[in-house]
Symmetry: C2
């Protein structure tokens, strides 16, 4: 890490599963950018990809065993749909601890995350913020499950732009946890999130 | 369609781009289910996938032209991250009009959408609901951009379970639109959403 901040999520490796997943992510973006009219034998591509998927599926462990593996340790997860280097849905966002106790990361989203023309889907902003508030809670020492999440969309969130996603735990009262977050670009707030979390956790698979 | 309801989103085709994207979706799930310890040459898989991505990228149209194509017509979109058959991030959810004016669809989510152990990520529930409220607004005749979205998480949302996502426009006053939605399983409400939308639209690319 060049910034000197403590990373709280997994940074993708440049070999193994993370590179295969990064390639899937790139292929997903490429296919969406190409569209159905592209001069390519898409049925053949589908067959080749399906063969690869079958090959991987056959070698995969039992889901119950894999779930134990995913959730082992108290560290960062590698599988989630926001920061997970092993999840092709995740951009992925890398979050670091800031000196003031907040957690923060920068992400640049392409057309797979589009809502309004040229802009990030409001639900994708919600996904990034919900996850970031969860990481902020874990970083602050008391985390839980989302009870209520309120998103205020102040300005459109552009695609192909560096977005700063920030979250911070505000206060804890009994089992209630309040946290808030923002998505900004160039210092301007685009989306605000307020979350009320409840300090309870589902049992980890084992 | 067997239910006789009017579909409001694109149902995936069984050839061409939709099948290639479905195969990417399946591969993303397979890799996440496999994990990094799988007995497979993941670097070689990454190389093969990267070569495919490069091939597709080289044949893709200019992004500006593709954006015009994506947003042409007044019908359903095929590219969005919730219902889009051309978007590997989308489950995809198919939404239909109900006789009472609501829009509704059933979706079953796997581990790429996981938040808490064995459960759907709260941000993914938000994504599904934000989009469904948008489709409900369009179906009701007055749509816009999300202003405020509030999610209430009443119970954990299980993976590998048929989830019913429903949305409905409640009222319109001037440029303000109120809508609400739910995610249910077996008739039990798991998540509720309330959205305030503003009747304004970003210009479509042309």
């Amino acid at each position: 890490m060049t910034t000197g901040l403590t990373e709280l999520t997994a940074r993708p490796d440049d070999s193994g599963i993370d590179t295969a997943v990064a390639a899937v992510r790139r292929l997903a973006a490429a296919l969406l950018a190409a569209g159905g009219r592209v001069d390519l034998d898409l049925d053949d591509l589908a067959r080749r990809l399906t063969a690869m998927a079958s090959e991987v599926e056959e070698l995969a462990p039992e889901l119950a065993d894999r779930m134990v593996d995913m959730w082992s340790g108290e560290g960062v997860t590698r599988h989630d749909p926001v920061t997970g280097p092993e999840n092709a849905i995740a951009p992925p966002l890398v979050l670091s601890a800031e000196p003031d106790g907040a957690v923060c990361g920068t992400v640049n989203l392409g057309i797979t995350y589009q809502g309004p023309p040229g802009c990030v889907h409001g639900g994708i902003s919600a996904l990034l913020l919900d996850h970031t508030l969860g990481v902020a809670n874990a970083h602050a020492g008391t985390s839980g499950m989302t009870g209520t999440l309120t998103l205020r969309y102040e300005r459109p969130v552009p695609l192909h732009t560096d977005l700063v996603v920030r979250g911070r735990q505000e206060r804890v009262e009994g089992r209630k946890i309040w946290s808030h977050g923002t998505i900004t670009a160039g210092g301007e707030v685009l989306v605000r999130a307020e979350g009320l979390f409840i300090d309870k956790h589902l049992a980890r698979p084992r």
